[in-house]
Every structure is written in C-alpha cells, then in structure tokens.
Amino acid sequence: MTWSLNEIETLSRKAARGAGLSWGLAEEAGKAARWLSAAGLPGPQVLAELLIRNDGADYETLCPLEHSEGHWIATGGTLCPLISGATLCDSAARLASGDDLHLGRTACPVLLLPYLAAAVGMTGTRLTVTWNDVSITLDAETHIGPHDPEALNAAVVDSVHIARAETGELTAPLTPGNRGEMPPETARQLTAFARRTYAPATSESRLSGAGAGLTDND
C-alpha cells in the first residue's frame, strides 16, 4: 500500500503539532516529511523518530542559538532539525550571500534538506550540506554524493556544515515520485502524536459541534 503525499503531509503536520511544535513549525514539518517521501527518502520514519526523541522537550532547549558568528548550537545540547530548518529557511538570503553556517550536534539532519531546498528555491543559490561522510548539493534538484545509507538517516550527528556550493560535477539527481511509503509502525507512531490534537468526543459536542439534529429522511 502506498500513501498519497497529501496524506503524509497532513498526518505529519498533525503529529508535529501533537508533539508540541507551534502550528507554523508543524506546517513546515508536514511539508518536510512530504518532500522527503517524494524524494524517496524515509521522511515519515525520521520524523517519527525525532518526535519521539524530543517529546516533552522545551522549545528553548532545542532552538538554535548563534553562540559565535555562523555557529549554531542548542542549549539543550542537540538541535532540532525542524526548528533549525525553519530558521535556515528564514536565513535564505544570508546563506545565498555566501555565509557559511555550522550547526553543532543535530538530530536527524536529513530533515534539514527540505528547508534548505526551499531556501535554494527562494534565492536561486545552490547550497551544499555535509555531515559525517554525507555531502548533498541542492539546486532545483537534489544530488546526494556517495555515502553510507545509515549516515544519511543518522539519528544524531556532531556537526552539520552548510555553504554555498562549489561549482563542479554533480551526482545524478533524485527523481521525485508522487506517492509515499510509510511502514505501519511509523503510521501508528505519527497517528498517536496526531491524536493529541483531537478533542475527545462527547455526545453534546457531536450534535452541537457539527450543527443541528434535523432528520435527513426528507
């Protein structure tokens, strides 16, 4: 069974909100999971892993702090890629101007890619992001260099470097698809987070919340 990308985005957005992110950040998390799924990467799985990891953590401990020029760290020790990704995207002009950014310890860095792709889309400037032995160049397409697959979907890395891309040969780009895969366990995890956004039904709310109690046999 495959999932429509809209389903993946919607479930991921609700899950991110259920896990405590603000609505704006959750909206972007939904787009991120969708983007990764379309690229053939395990977006929902990585998102579920991250949400479980950060469940209950304070925003203040996860958000980036520029402790020295171009170096971001989290006061809690590990940056959240959904918050850092959104901030990177907000800093698209800075990245395009040629400033390098170094992120300290970061969870699930693959989740940064959709945000950086959006920054590239806004500025037209090609970016390269690297962690461990993984190097990914983003222009209108996504070029992933030779790497260990486990490193690509790493749970935590010590540092991430983002810079304007050097000119040079690129690997073949990913081919975006129009459906997504999601293991049942991931769907269960995300659904459990999403459920936190739903108000428990009461018989009164069932009637009044949706309006009316008129007969439909007319």
Binding site: W3, A92, R94, T197, A199
Partner: protein
C-alpha cells in the same frame, strides 16, 4: 465592439470584499467551476457512455459512467445500496449511504471494480489508490424519491412544483478529492488541461452522479412496474439537479488555501472591474443582461429555505430583483460607463445578496471579458508559502496594520470576540466549532482565527527588539503561522478573510456559501448556522444532451416555462 477605455475602475478593495457577510452573499457566475467544466466539455465535444449498469430490483448493484475527453477518459464508478431509514444521515458521522462513488482515472477493468466494491462503499473506512481521483457518497431525498418512483411506475409524470420544492433526488454528503484515503493527489493531475481550473475532478464526478441518479430512479420504476413505467419527460428531468449537504468540514479549506482563495476572488473582482470600466454597452448586451435579470427573478421564486436568516435574505433578494428590474425600465444603459453607474446605484439600493447577484449577472453578456479569467483561478500555494525571514519587523508591523486593521481595533478580551473555538473531534477527525467558555476544547484549538492571532502577534511585534522577521520568529515560534499568512496576504490581497471567524456572531455557513457559489451551486438552504443544503446542475443538460444543448446557458431557469 470597439472599446475606448476612458477610465479604468479598479477591482474592489479587499477590506470591502473579504467580510463574511459579503462572501456569504455570493452567487454562481460565469466563473463557477461547474460552468467552466461544461463549457470545456461542450467545446471539446466530450462523449459519454454507460458500459455497466447492473442494479437489481432492490436497488443494489453497480454502474459505470465514462466520459471521453480529447486525450483521456474518466469513469464514475457508482455503488447503489438499499439503505434502511434509520441509517440515513447526511452528516459525517454516518457509516452507510444510499449510493457511493469514485471517479476513476481511465476505464476500470472488472478487477478494478471488484477492488473498488470492497472499499468505496466504506468511504473513510476504505482505501483507494492513485487510480482514483475522488471519493463521494449520496443519500436519497426519501420523500421525493418514493414519490417519483411511484409516479413513473404508474405511467405518470411527477408534478413539477413538487419536484421543484426539493429540486433533486439525491444529495451528496461529501465529495473528497486530492489524496484523501489514498486517492491521487491534486498535484498529479493539475497539469492536465481539463483539470487546470479548480475542482474540475469533483465537478465532473458530481455531474456524472446526477446522470446516474436519474437513470436509477427510472430503472427502479421499471423494476417495480415493467408494464406501465415511463421515463421522465426530458424537460422535467432537467429540473432535477443533484443536491449536496455540506457542513463545517469545508470551512477551514478557505483558510488553509490562501493563494487559491485569492485567485478565485481576484478573478471575480477583475471581471467585475472590467465590466464596470466599459465606457458603453451595445443594445444587444443590455438585452442579454435584462434577460438574465428576469431569469434571476424566476430563480429567486424557486428558492426555498426554512432557515429564518435565509428566508429574510431571499425576501430581500426578491425585493432587490424587483427594484433592479424597475430601475432597468428607466435607466439609460448605452453610454457613460453604464455598468459602473448601475453598480454605484446598486451599492445604495440593494442588499448584499442583491449586490453580489448583480456582480454575477453583469458577467453574463461578456464571455470574452470574463471566461478567460477562469485560467487564473488555480493556485500554486507553494509559490507564496515560505516565510521571508529577511523582511524587517518594521515592514511586518506596517503590513499587519494594513491587513488586520479590523482585528487590531477589536477588543479580544470581550467574551463575544472569541466565543468560538475551531477544533477537530477525535471521533471523525472533522472540524467542529465549540464554545470557548463552556466546552473543554480550547487546548485543541485549530489556527483558524487569523484576526485574533494577528492581534497577538502584533502585540509582541511592537515590543520586540529584533529587526528582522527571522529574529522575531526565532523568539516567537508561536507566531510563525500568522506571520506566514500576513506575508501571503501582502502579496495576494484577497488571500485573507478580513473578519472574525471566532466571534459569537460568526455564521460558518457564510464560508460554506462562498465556496459553494464558486462551485456553481444555488438554492442555498441552511439547516443551521453550520451546515447547508444546496442544488447543483439544476437545468443543466445531461451528458447525452451536451452539444445539442448549451453547456453554459443553464444556470438560471429558462423564461419560457418548459426549458428551451
């Protein structure tokens, strides 16, 4: 006609247009999605067939209706059910329906039909694939259904007034598109010319559903009394539309698709502005307009509602159409920007419903100025969705004051200002509207109250020392949602509803009405402040009549009694 543009009337300001009361007064027009679809199918000479119609005497079985366009074919797959009355509910909490449907991308094989039979009748509880473009269901209008089957079985035609009091034999209670329950995403088909305009998949599905329902009622009469049954008279048959019952599920869509909302309204306002800017009108154009005004009056006479708010509005509309027709008797409409003069007269003389009806009527004589705008009504939300973090907080302050002035002037501490909460119920995962002060739902509030959120954001924005939006949002992630909306509305002036969507006085049906009017619906009949019944495709030619009859000229009743 040669046009000399001596003055250009700008489109109406968003602060005028984007109030709930005005949006809730919209009517169908040349830019409605049903009319866009039928114009295209007529122009491209689409053909239709019914390769499967396998329904038993109890009304159980399946049918397939295939529409062939120039490049691709689409099939409505219908499953008919024999539903006990106690299970009949229009609302989303229902689990069984009189009929269920999917629009299949192409022509289904028997194996496809078997797969769909296992899933489509279950609706939300089933699962479809990227071969399916929509999922929908419908319930009978029981009284009219039984009456029509009885009449036809006895060899008689049903009474016209009885038919028109209801206007349809079945009403759809949900039409799900774009990726729902595993169906194909909108993005997969948006590049196809036939689906470029919004909601064409859903409109095609509903158009074929109407044909199925009419075939089914005649079939049931034949099964009951094979010797005496007759089919419906073709003119009377066209008086049946397809109903729809729509609840709160539709309302958030307008807030979650700001670019799309903008493009719908912008196309309509551009059409109105173009027509108001015409320096002169040809006599034939004035005649067409007058003719449509007469037909609109007929339409108002056939519009029934039991809801006190709508009854008052229909009464006002009837008075408006009388006033308009009287004015037309004496008004000089050939020169000196005649339509602008008429518009300015209407702003004082007519109710909001009447003014917005006039906007629709003014488009009728000018297909060459209006119809092309339908190509501008789709939207790529992604193009304006990302936040511009480099924007200065000064600039954001200015934008917020401009777009959300009404909200900054609202006292949000007053209980009535935020009396309502939009939330999602665990039971059906559908939007609901609760009472902030009595229901325990506030922790589950959905971001569907941009005015209140903008006022909160502005409060922090005036206090911040940050100079860029990026810096501001780093400290205030809770404002990320509304900052995005403000930046979108700065570029797309009609993207935001400029009204209080959580006030004690909010009528969610205003939001439903606006969207349904763009679909091309009419006969709005609110059943409460939060759900509404409508009629679609009434008077439209059936698929087998398209080409012999106009695909566009059907949205108002015909003057000659029997449709011509």
């Amino acid at each position: 006609m040669e046009q000399t543009q001596s003055k250009t009337i700008p489109p109406r300001a968003p602060n005028v247009v984007m109030t709930l009361a005005r949006l809730g007064s919209f009517h169908q027009s040349r830019l409605s999605f049903m009319r866009i679809l039928l114009r295209r199918m007529e122009a491209e000479q689409w053909t239709f067939e019914r390769p499967v119609f396998d329904i038993d005497a109890q009304g159980m079985g399946r049918a397939v209706y295939t529409a062939h366009g120039p490049e691709r074919s689409y099939s409505l797959v219908a499953f008919a059910n024999d539903l006990p009355p106690e299970k009949r509910s229009d609302r989303v909490i229902a689990t069984e329906w009189d009929a269920t449907f999917t629009l299949f991308d192409g022509i289904p094989t028997p194996a496809d039909l078997d797969r769909l039979q296992d899933n489509v009748p279950q609706q939300e509880a089933g699962r479809v694939t990227e071969s399916e473009l929509s999922i929908s269901r419908a319930n009978r209008s029981v009284r009219l259904w039984d009456y029509v089957v009885g009449k036809l079985a006895a060899g008689e035609q049903p009474d016209r007034t009885t038919v028109e009091k209801v206007g349809y034999l079945m009403r759809t209670t949900a039409v799900y598109g774009s990726g729902k329950f595993g169906a194909a995403d909108r993005e997969d088909t948006a590049e196809r010319p036939e689906f470029q305009a919004p909601f064409q998949i859903e409109m095609l599905s509903v158009y074929l559903t109407r044909a199925f329902v009419m075939d089914l009622v005649e079939h049931m009469a034949r099964m009951r009394a094979p010797d005496t049954a007759v089919p419906l008279d073709p003119d009377l048959r066209r008086r049946f539309g397809i109903g729809n019952s729509t609840g709160l599920g539709m309302a958030p869509f307008l807030l979650t698709h700001p670019a799309l909302l903008n493009n719908w309204i912008a196309a309509r306002e551009e059409a109105l502005a173009r027509i108001r800017s015409l320096p002169a009108a040809h006599m034939s154009e004035v005649d067409i307009f007058r003719n449509f005004a007469l037909r609109a009056r007929l339409h108002m006479q056939d519009w029934y509602s039991e809801h006190p708010v709508q009854i008052a509005r229909i009464d006002a509309l009837r008075a408006d159409t009388a006033r308009l027709l009287a004015h037309l008797d004496t008004a000089e409409l050939s020169a000196d920007h005649p339509w602008n003069r008429l518009w300015l007269w209407a702003e004082d003389a007519l109710s909001l419903e009447g003014q917005e009806l006039l906007a629709s009527l003014l488009m009728e004589p000018y297909p060459h100025l209006v119809d092309g705008l339908s190509a501008c009504m789709a939207a790529d939300e992604a193009a304006t969705w990302r936040i511009d973090g480099a924007m200065s907080t000064d600039r954001l302050r200015t934008l917020t004051r401009d777009i959300y002035r009404w909200a900054l002037d609202t006292d949000w501490t007053a209980p009535e200002a935020q009396a309502r909460v939009w939330y999602t119920s665990e039971e059906k995962l559908e939007p609901r509207l609760g009472d902030r002060h009595t229901d325990p739902v506030e922790p589950y509030e959905q971001p569907l109250c941009p005015g209140r959120d903008a006022a909160r954001m502005y409060g922090d924005l005036t206090a911040t020392g940050e100079t860029t939006v990026a810096g501001f949002l780093m400290r205030h992630p809770e404002h990320r949602h509304i900052v995005r909306r403000a930046q979108i509305a700065a570029r797309l002036p009609y993207a935001e509803i400029r009204d209080n969507t959580i006030a004690a006085t909010v009528l969610p049906i205003d939001m439903l009405r606006m969207k349904l009017a763009f679909f091309g619906a009419c006969h709005f009949d609110p059943r409460s402040d939060r759900w509404v019944r409508i009629n679609m495709y009434q008077h439209a030619p059936f698929p087998h009549e398209l080409g012999a009859r106009s695909g566009d000229d059907w949205a108002y009743p015909f003057l000659t009694g029997a449709a011509s």
